[in-house]
């Protein structure tokens, strides 16, 4: 057992820190730090800066831009990026469809899609969830029927995050309705969002924003060559992809940055003539959250530093569950520090209420999502109870 990073890793951490804080435009990092919506242009600009430096897809195969890093290097890369308030490379591209195409796509698909996916020349969205198939993804009903050289897709997807920006969708469709198990008979198709028959409808959320959408398919014709991997094996690819989705989902760096921000504001808000940060109850609440976050970070490091045989570390199942809870707790802390100021949520720039307090409640409400997506926390508990405790 050894606490310190090796000199090489210490230098690596410094290199990442320097890059993220000097090469990604300050204005974009300020937007993230202020919990304002990051625009499509800002995402694209950031990812191209990262891709040019070989930092957009370090976990991909080397042939397609990967860096062959250890899990610990990847952990440091991600944490430093979050601490510096850099918008992370678009997960739909870099953690989801990219690795699936690299692993299961044919050579033509790899050449066609991977470089553009890494550089965000194609913006992907995810077509998985349906109104009756959320956590129970295998119940999906969208169909694809073979007609000559095309698949004809009909059905509906929902919760399609940032679909309004997307150029392409990767979509789970039912290709064999007669399959014995509902997990069988599902395939993975990719197609442009401007294909005839695709309609996107934004869903307004309780924070006043539009980041998810419903997507409807009516006789959408998809060329057969856009099938990824083998027909009826889509479930395996989805599991592979969702496994990747949970990597880095603890978001320790991001929560750490929020707690640092909360402390700063708690010093500025005055209650009864003294800073809120000096109120023992508030100080203890912050201290407890910082300690919970430390425990989570150490668990993430334990998992990342574990070199054993490529099997997932049992404690990795804790990361998504606790990570989402702490992200939510940090947003709640910021709302409570803002107190009455938080009511000025939609005041314009003429307001005397500072920006951080105005954005606090929408951010808190928006973050209710993190314990729902990526396998809800109840799904995570089921996994822990079943596969770790054998219950």
């Amino acid at each position: 057992m050894r606490l310190q990073l090796s000199p090489e890793l210490e230098a690596f951490r410094e290199e990442m820190r320097t890059f993220f804080t000097t090469q990604v435009p300050q204005e974009i990092r300020d937007t993230v730090a202020a919990h304002r919506h990051v625009s499509k242009e800002q995402y694209v600009e950031t990812q191209r800066v990262l891709d040019a430096a070989g930092l957009a897809v370090p976990h991909w195969p080397v042939e397609w831009g990967g860096r062959d890093w250890t899990p610990l290097q990847r952990h440091i890369w991600r944490e430093e990026m979050q601490l510096a308030n850099v918008p992370e490379p678009l997960a739909f591209n870099t953690s989801m469809i990219g690795p699936v195409i690299a692993a299961f796509g044919n050579q033509e698909q790899k050449e066609r899609f991977l470089p553009k996916t890494a550089n965000l020349d194609i913006w992907w969205c995810q077509g998985f969830s349906e109104p009756d198939a959320g956590s129970d993804l295998a119940s999906l009903r969208t169909t694809a029927v073979r007609d000559g050289d095309d698949w004809v897709v009909n059905g509906q997807k929902t919760w399609t995050t940032l679909g309004q920006h997307a150029d392409w969708i990767f979509c789970l469709v039912r290709t064999d309705p007669g399959a014995e198990k509902k997990q069988r008979g599902i395939s993975l198709l990719v197609f442009p969002m401007d294909s005839p028959g695709v309609t996107l409808r934004p869903i307004e959320l309780i924070d006043g924003g539009f980041e998810v959408n419903e997507v409807f398919f009516e006789d959408v014709r998809v060329p057969a060559e856009n099938l990824i991997g083998e027909e009826n094996r889509g479930w395996d690819y989805a599991k592979f992809l969702l496994g990747n989705e949970r990597v880095g989902i603890a978001r320790v760096g991001s929560t750490k940055s929020m707690l640092a921000e909360a402390k700063q504001h708690a010093r500025e808000v005055s209650v009864g003539g003294r800073p809120l940060a000096d109120d023992p109850r508030m100080a203890a609440r912050i201290a407890e959250l910082e300690n919970e976050l430390l425990a989570l970070e150490l668990t993430a490091l334990r998992v990342a530093a574990n070199s054993a045989d490529g099997k997932p570390h049992p404690a990795s199942s804790v990361l998504k569950l606790r990570g989402s809870e702490l992200q939510q707790a940090a947003t709640e802390l910021l709302v409570d520090i803002a107190g009455p100021l938080s009511l000025a949520s939609f005041a314009d720039d003429g307001s005397d209420v500072p920006d951080w307090a105005r954005v606090a409640t929408p951010h808190y409400l928006n973050y209710r999502k993190v314990s729902i997506y990526g396998g809800s926390n109840e799904v995570q508990r089921t996994i822990i109870a079943g596969s770790i405790l054998g219950l």
């Binding site: 057992m1 310190q4 640092a260 201290a287 430390l294 668990t299 334990r302 530093a305 804790v318």
Partner: protein, 381 residues
């Protein structure tokens, strides 16, 4: 960085586990042992000494093994796993740690050698009625008399205080808190032992002009006490991890076998979710306890790291201890069944050197003095 034990540490763990699982093969064996004084098994104590465990952290020239805090943590976790009542942390980590830190060369050679051989049980008499978890002493005062000192006042509760051969006593002196050695047979020393709720022993220890010798060079030792308490808090954290691990495994096993309404309890999602949350608490606490030992090992800020581990372990211990009983139902509160004893010991650990609220308050006092906690940077590494 690396959170895994090396092969020698794995071997140590297997050896300790083997010894303790023979000594305490089931909870009935432990119940038998803790029923009679001194509340632990002298033969097991001797075997621990023969294995070199009682001299683990001491320098080889003082009769020890020259190992470090990771090895101590391994032993503590195995002790917690079976609730072994032997006073390992009290004698080796706390009293031994103080002697190693401030004792003269002669005191170290004699006392640490005796502890390592299993011949001397030393404990730290520090807690006083009316104060809680401070590194200083008020209720016992030390007065210089000729070449030596005399002590007056009361210490309570003192873990294993009646059985101890030697007491390390904290006492108020001019300008601070000093540390003193008192022999168990000193005149003016009265010890009244009793059972504690977790089956171990504690004592009321009364000093009436009791002859004492200064430990080391004398003077104010508050900083050394604070540090030794921190190291003991980390070790108790590992003991608690071992206890929580067993409590969780016992509970999971019970859920798989106990039938109600015609099915085993693990068919009820409400119960399996609670067990899953116990696992989350355990693994987060384990990470923090391991980290604190590594901070100690690399010479970082032990006191602060110990507070962080204490807070996490305390919260986890309360959670897991209470849920282990609840998920067992009535059998969980019976003395014949093991799981309630785990909860009792976890509760005792909470109150020996500082509970979660206490640790949170200490961390809260400095929370605005830094921006973020970096477990791999200063002041920890």
């Amino acid at each position: 960085m690396n959170f895994d034990y090396d092969s020698e540490q794995d071997d140590l763990r297997e050896a300790v586990r083997g010894l303790l699982s023979r000594a305490y093969a089931d909870s009935e064996q432990r119940r038998t042992v803790v029923k009679t004084d001194p509340g632990f098994d002298e033969k097991t104590w001797t075997r621990l000494a023969e294995m070199g465990l009682l001299g683990l952290p001491f320098a080889e020239e003082d009769g020890g093994m020259g190992a470090g805090p990771i090895e101590v943590a391994i032993v503590a976790e195995e002790i917690g796993r079976v609730l072994a009542p032997e006073p390992f942390i009290e004698t080796v980590v706390l009293a031994g740690g103080l002697i190693a830190a401030v004792g003269t060369a002669e005191q170290k050679g004699e006392l640490l050698g005796g502890i390592s051989e299993g011949a001397t049980i030393a404990v730290f008499a520090h807690a006083e009625p009316g104060t809680r978890w401070t590194p200083t002493a008020e209720g016992v005062t030390a007065t210089q008399s000729g070449d030596g000192w005399t002590l007056t006042g009361v210490k309570e509760p003192v873990p294993s205080g009646a059985r101890a051969d030697v007491l390390i006593v904290s006492a108020a002196i001019d300008g601070g808190t000093g540390l003193f050695l008192v022999q168990g047979d000193a005149s003016g020393l009265t010890r009244t032992g009793y059972r504690t709720h977790d089956g171990t022993r504690a004592a009321n220890v009364r000093f009436e002009g009791t002859a004492a010798v200064a430990l080391g060079a004398g003077g104010d030792q508050t900083a050394a006490i604070e540090r030794a308490l921190g190291e003991a808090r980390i070790a108790y954290g590992h003991e608690a991890i071992g206890a929580m691990d067993t409590a969780l495994r016992t509970t999971a096993e019970y859920l798989k076998t106990r039938k109600q309404f015609g099915v085993t309890l693990n068919k009820f999602q409400a119960l399996t979710f609670r067990a899953a949350d116990m696992y989350v608490s355990l693994e987060l606490a384990r990470s923090t306890a391991l980290w604190a030992s590594m901070v100690q090992d690399c010479g970082g800020d032990v006191v602060s790291a110990a507070d962080r581990a204490r807070l996490q372990v305390s919260r986890a211990g309360r959670h897991i201890g209470k849920e282990a009983i609840q998920l067992h139902g009535g059998i969980g509160v019976t003395a014949e069944y093991s799981v309630g004893h785990y909860t009792s010991r976890l509760t005792a650990i909470d109150h020996l050197l500082g509970d979660g609220d206490w640790a949170a308050d200490r961390l809260a006092a400095t929370v605005t003095s830094y921006e973020t906690v970096d477990p791999l940077g200063a002041p920890y590494a």
